[in-house]
């Protein structure tokens, strides 16, 4: 178990990369630190590793306070974004390097390197230098080096971001399976919300050195704690429309919607994922509860379209699945209605989640 309490890291010049942060990561958990660049996620990972000393607060791993422990004695292994493979050593020597430092006899450490390499499908490459490997192979060697040292914790800094898009999907599946098999507590940093949703058991969404929300991928996706998380999670940004509660009804972008009981009058933000609305090209039966407008932009997403609707008051985006073969995309300029699916829209007041409608 990793537990962080009151962790603060302030760099010279007064930049607070981490701001009094508390977090608990369970044994065997695959945990993601997600956030935009500059949010402090990498600094947090490096602080867990011991590469950065916190300004205040504590880090403990497996119940032992390691705040003042040097990185080499924390029993953690880190995979860096650039893999950090030593160019003058072959694959075996790279994988076995941490074992060599721990004075494991040569024959034993080479056997362990070979065994780890075969598990990561690197067996034929043991005598090669990193310069002779593809990006995906280099990434697996870096993983193998971490795995071979049998650490208590894996720390991955953007492990997939240096791979090209197709390889990244493969490597993602591979990484998830590997973590399941090894069941080693793993913390990884990513700025890619899709990667975090796909890999992690739990996600901590970070912004400006603080954790905004911690939760499982479905929790973070369906119940974003604030508008920052709401707009950050999801492959298409959530529609966030300013509105107001007045006399038991919600007024948003020219539409009046019913409100659940107990919502007091006042300003609100109405959030609706583009995937959770249907586009109708003719007036729908629930037209009173729909956003009517003109198609402004149509973006092709392959098996669907992202349609931007101009209602006059606001822009509303809707993901429209492709129709039967032969049917085309909605035409820009055509009138259309965005019909929210019931129970999928979110209401925020003072940046806190208030209700689903």
């Amino acid at each position: 178990m990793i537990s962080l309490s009151g962790l603060t890291k302030e760099f010279p010049g007064g930049v607070r990369a981490i701001d009094s942060l508390d977090l608990e990561i369970a044994d065997g958990e695959f945990f993601a630190l997600l956030g935009p660049s500059g949010c402090g996620k990498t600094t947090l990972l490096r602080t867990i590793a011991g590469l950065e000393a916190p300004t205040s607060g504590n880090v403990s791993i497996g119940g032992v306070d390691v705040t003042g422990t040097p990185p080499g004695r924390r029993d953690v292994a880190m995979v860096f974004q650039d893999y950090a493979l030593f160019p003058h050593m072959d694959v075996t020597a790279n994988i076995a390097y941490p074992l060599r430092i721990k004075k494991v006899p040569r024959a034993r450490r080479e056997a362990r390197a070979a065994e780890t390499a075969s598990r990561l499908s690197l067996s034929g490459l043991l005598a090669r230098r990193p310069g002779q490997l593809s990006g995906g192979q280099q990434q697996r060697v870096a993983l193998a080096r971490a795995v071979a040292s049998h650490p208590k914790v894996f720390l991955f800094d953007e492990p997939l971001s240096n791979l090209d898009a197709r390889l990244r999907l493969e490597a993602r599946t591979f990484l998830k399976r590997l973590q399941r098999e090894l069941a080693v507590t793993t913390v990884f940093v990513t700025h890619d919300q899709g990667e975090a949703l796909a890999l992690a058991d739990r996600i901590a969404v970070m912004d400006a050195g603080r954790i905004v929300q911690v939760g499982t991928p479905p929790e973070v996706f369906h119940r974003p704690a604030g508008t920052f998380v709401a707009s950050f999670i999801g492959s298409t940004p959530m529609n966030l429309l300013p509105g107001a509660a007045q006399g038991g009804a919600l007024h948003v972008a020219g539409v009046v919607l019913p409100l659940p009981p107990g919502v007091e009058d006042g300003p609100l933000v109405y959030g609706l994922r583009p995937e959770y609305a249907d586009l109708s090209q003719s007036a729908p039966p629930e037209r009173n509860a729909s956003f009517a407008g003109k198609v402004a932009v149509v973006e092709n997403l392959g098996t669907s379209y992202l349609v931007t609707l101009d209602t006059g008051d606001a822009l509303v985006q809707v993901v429209v699945p492709e129709g039967p073969p032969g049917t085309g995309a909605p035409e820009p300029g055509a009138p259309a209605w965005a019909v929210p699916r019931p129970g999928r829209a979110l209401l925020y007041r003072d940046d806190a989640l208030l209700a689903h409608i």
Binding site: P12, L51, G72, Q81, D82, A84, Y97, K102
Partner: protein
């Protein structure tokens, strides 16, 4: 325009442009070198009969040099000087400074670098005077600091004195070269080693040195060559006392100009030139090897 003649000048005009430079090189570099070789084969002296009518003595100067105790002593002192002040002193201290300063924030780094650089760029007569003032027996700063009045550093320990002096004088180059080389070591590599539990020594051995091997060789060759030819110490000890700090360049000066044996001095100069050529040859081979390694 053919590929062999991209400027389209033609052979004659191209030669015309190069000629002035070639003449300068010929007059001031090639001719004196050849003249030195010739002088080395004669008994030419600054004064006396042999000055008016020098005789060719063949390899006589060389054989007498190799038999000369003073020459062999000077050669041995030069080896000490190069190993002590360049290979061990400047290279090790320069690397240590570069390593310690690599992540240091602003002012500390700038001040240390500034001081080290200052020692390097000051004129040699100025630094020689500074060191005489430092080491002087009666009014020297060092004796005042150590409360050892009357201790004659330059008389009792002339070689250590000029070795320390040359380390102080020349470390800046190694520090700057290694400083630039260390920028090539990716931080993630050092951090990977740290996470594996590697000590500083292991980090240097496994991560840093393999990365900067080329820089180390270049640096060692250059500072060895410069130290081998260095004459600044003459301004401090003039080779004395009794030749105990008489490294080769000082020896040549003392023999040829103070002693007037121009022919003999020229022969020694030629030997020094040969050593320089060996250094230069190794250096060029090394550079070529590195270039081929970079672009196969």
């Amino acid at each position: 325009m053919s590929p062999a003649d991209p400027a389209g000048l033609g052979r004659a005009r191209a030669a015309g442009f190069v000629l002035p430079a070639l003449v300068l090189i010929g007059v001031f570099l090639v001719f004196p070198a050849l003249w030195t070789i010739y002088l080395g084969l004669t008994d030419y002296r600054l004064t006396g009969l042999a000055a008016a009518d020098p005789q060719v003595v063949g390899l006589g100067n060389y054989t007498s040099a190799l038999e000369d105790e003073r020459f062999r002593n000077s050669l041995w002192l030069t080896v000490q000087y190069v190993l002590g002040s360049a290979v061990v002193g400047q290279a090790v201290l320069g690397f240590a400074l570069a390593w310690v300063l690599r992540n240091r924030p602003g002012p500390v780094k700038r001040v240390v670098e500034g001081l080290v650089l200052l020692a390097w760029i000051l004129p040699s007569s100025v630094v020689a005077f500074l060191w005489i003032a430092l080491l002087d027996r009666d009014a020297g700063t060092l004796n005042a600091l150590l409360h050892t009045p009357g201790f004659a550093w330059l008389l009792d320990h002339p070689m250590p004195s000029i070795i320390v002096f040359n380390v102080w004088r020349g470390t800046a180059f190694s520090m700057m070269l290694y400083g630039a080389a260390l920028e090539n070591v990716p931080p993630s590599h050092l951090e990977t080693a740290r996470l594996a539990g590697a000590s500083t020594f292991q980090q240097l051995r496994d991560v840093v040195l393999p990365r900067i091997k080329g820089h180390v060789l270049t640096n060692l060759l250059l500072i060895s060559l410069w130290t081998f030819n260095d004459f600044t110490s003459f301004q401090i000890t003039a080779g004395g006392p009794e030749g105990r700090s008489e490294i080769l360049p000082v020896y040549i000066y003392n023999v040829a100009l103070s002693g007037g044996q121009l022919g003999f001095g020229a022969a020694i100069s030629f030997l020094v030139l040969l050593v320089n050529l060996v250094f230069a040859f190794v250096y060029l081979r090394l550079l070529r090897g590195r270039r081929e390694a970079v672009s196969p």
